[in-house]
Amino acid sequence: MSKLKPEDLAKITEKVKRTMLLREGTGRAKVIVHMGTCGIASGARAIMSALMKEIEERNIKDVILTTSSCAGLCSREPMITVEVQDQPPVKYVDLTPDKAKEIFAKHVLSGEIVKEYALAFGSERVP
């Protein structure tokens, strides 16, 4: 590595930005994959892999991908919840990796809710 110039700081920051946003727990949007036993049995791992790949390929930095447990609607798994900042969370059900990719492109990146896969607004309550 050659000597840094002041403007190189911004480049390095950009390179590590995704990791830092992850650690600070802040992002423009959050995608939660429900990974209860029911979710995993109906293919949540494949959904997670597909979303990880989307983030990697598109080089998305400000979207956090995380897991949560069973949302209580086991028959409609695999499910994800999409939380775009300052908007109510949206739950999507009966997913496949392709549907998840579509939701990622439309809802997470362009802000357009994919109504045909959506179950409802809101999130289950945790005490």
Partner: protein, 602 residues
């Protein structure tokens, strides 16, 4: 760059490593692999991140969930439940001391919530061995700003306007110290970072360097530019191997990026850092002794003036700043003097890092705004006193400081208020004592420490402390006599007056403040041969409460000196001539049947 969805931030500070953090790391990585999560989850090793006595600890991000007291066998469950299935494991979480309800999020833990991080800005968020992560948290941005847009005089003015004062203990205004050095025509000039942290129970400097070494390097670069130094030393004790290792790795990375060396950022400014390992003598924390140590001379203090800014290391102008003072600098430059000066009290600005230790629920490293009350530190952040005991006093400033009694719990913590109370801010050790602490015994402990660490150059310090130690020992062992308290006060004042350096000038403080705030306890020891806290062995006796004793024989079987006798199911008794007052019987008795009395011996 590889994408992960979760980072597991495992604390690998000295304390967590000593309780098995590295074994936890190995197990974590094995289990993550077993669950095929290695492409999704990354384990990051951080410096001290939160409650130091609850290690090993880890924080799962972005979920902000914190786990404590981890054992290797907890890891498979933790990985499967939380990392795979997204169900945080409640049984491994911090439990609120009053509601007894587990707290999931790190930032909801009261210990964490009430802190304000400036010096500890990056704690637990970055991997200390990755310079890029430091840069991504605005790292070296302040350096670029001062080199590009500010003259050295403007940097000095900015720090003076911020009101930053030395965090090593004395609280001298940093901007003023720098100006003396900057305006000195003599060259070359030197910058020394004092990381010779020696107070018992203090671990601020070590934790800062272990968690965020680049903050210190950037702070040193800013300071060096302001005073016109091109060479800097970090004087750090050899007892801090992990901090030294991380600092060496950080300086190497900074050199590779051209952030240390010649012509930094193409500005023409040169600076490099040498790490100087001290052997661990307490007196080396005193600046003139420290300078002698770097020069290869015996570590003894010198007369001041001349001050180091006039004649320092190798006879050249030298600024010596503490680790915490220096790590504050990047934030002050980035956010501005006005922002910094808005935090704290009229004369003490910004925050202070304390290492909270002793009889307290949440021992650990805390950073709080100046002016916060001791009550808030002890009860809100510290979580109060364990085992339902009463708060008695807090010792600030280690062996150079003093005790602050319960009546002063609402004292706002700043340099002036602590001084008025007979204590000092010191480097930030804060030892909490409960009702079972004897104030004569504590004072004796600190005097014993400074007596041993005195370099012996000044008669007042060498002999004065030895004499005070002898008097305190006599008082603790029941040989105290009338006039001892007055003699202690006289000796203490004389030692303070006649000693050359900070060690001797402050060493009597623990005794003087204890005598001032807890005089009755001293009188009880001397006049009534009583130790109210029941600590001093010569003044207490053990006996069996005949009504409570069930004759289970547990104490008799465990007594190391066979002092307890009595038949099965019959009340036991203790032979005072054999009893060594070790307290084992109290620990093993299930019926609270062992009594400790004081001042009632026949």
């Amino acid at each position: 760059m590889k994408v992960y969805r979760t980072n597991v931030m495992l604390c690998t500070c000295t304390m967590c490593v000593s309780v098995g953090a590295l074994a936890i790391r190995k197990r974590l990585e094995e289990e993550i692999k077993k669950q095929n999560l290695e492409d999704e989850i990354q384990v990051i090793l951080t410096g001290s991140s939160w409650l130091c006595t609850r290690g090993p600890t880890l924080i799962v991000q972005p979920d902000d969930v914190v786990y404590q007291f981890l054992k290797e066998e907890d890891i498979p469950h933790l990985v499967e439940e939380h990392l795979l299935k997204g169900r945080p494991v409640k049984s491994l979480m911090y439990v609120h001391p009053e509601t007894l309800y587990p707290i999931e999020k790190l930032h909801d833990v009261p210990f964490y919530r009430d802190q304000r991080l400036i010096a500890l800005w990056n704690r637990g968020i970055i991997d200390p061995d990755q310079i890029d992560e430091y840069i991504a948290r605005d790292g070296y941005k302040a350096l670029a700003k001062v080199l590009k847009d500010m003259t050295p005089a403007e940097v000095v003015q900015e720090i003076a306007d911020a009101g930053l004062r030395g965090r090593g203990g004395a609280g001298f205004p940093t901007g003023r110290k720098w100006e003396f050095c900057r305006s000195n025509p003599n060259t070359p000039k030197y910058l020394i970072c004092n990381a010779d942290e020696g107070d018992p129970g203090a671990f601020m400097d070590r934790s800062i360097i272990e968690a965020d070494p680049h903050s210190l390097i950037e702070g040193m670069l800013i300071a060096a530019y302001a005073i016109g130094a091109s060479k800097g030393y970090v004087y750090i004790r050899i007892e801090y191997p992990l901090a030294i290792k991380r600092l060496i790795s950080a300086t190497a990375q900074a050199r590779e990026y051209g952030l240390l060396g010649e012509d930094i950022f193409g500005s023409g400014f040169d600076f490099d850092i040498e790490i100087f390992r001290g052997a661990g003598a307490f007196v080396c924390g005193e600046e003139t002794s420290l300078i002698h140590s770097i020069e290869g001379r015996p570590a003894e203090p010198a007369q001041k003036p001349p001050f180091p800014v006039q004649r320092g290391v190798f006879g050249k102008p030298t600024v010596i700043n503490n680790v915490e003072t220096l790590t504050n600098l990047p934030r002050i430059i980035n956010f501005g003097a006005e922002w910094f000066a808005a935090i704290g009290t009229e004369k003490s600005k910004g925050t202070k890092v304390f290492s909270l230790a002793g009889n307290i629920n949440n021992a650990g490293l805390v950073e709080v705004p100046m002016g916060i009350t001791l009550r808030r530190i002890v009860y809100d952040i510290g979580g109060g006193i364990p085992n339902g005991k009463e708060f008695k006093a807090v010792q600030t400033g280690g062996p150079s400081g003093g005790v602050i009694p319960k009546s002063l719990l609402d004292l706002p913590v700043d340099y002036e208020r602590l001084q008025e109370a007979g204590a000092i801010m010191g480097s930030g050790g804060l030892i909490v004592m409960d009702e079972d602490s004897c104030m004569v015994d504590i004072a004796k402990y600190f005097i014993e420490f400074t007596k041993d660490e005195s370099c012996g150059r000044c008669t007042s310090c060498r002999e004065g402390l030895a004499a005070m130690h002898e008097i305190l020992t006599n008082i603790c062992e029941g040989r105290g006599k009338e006039g001892d308290i007055e003699l202690l006060e006289e000796l203490g004042e004389a030692t303070k007056e006649a000693s050359l350096c900070g060690l001797g000038k402050t060493a009597p403080n623990p005794v003087l403040s204890a005598v001032r705030h807890f005089r009755n306890e001293y009188v009880a020891h001397i006049r009534d041969k009583k130790c109210p806290a029941k600590v001093c062995k010569a003044l207490i006796e053990y006996e069996v409460d005949k009504d409570k004793c069930t004759g289970c024989t547990l104490c008799a079987r465990n007594c190391p000196s066979q002092a307890i006798t009595g038949g099965k199911k019959k009340p036991h008794s203790i032979d005072r001539t054999k009893c060594i007052k070790c307290g084992v019987c109290i620990d093993v008795c299930k019926f609270d049947a062992i009594l400790v009395t004081t001042g009632e011996s026949p």
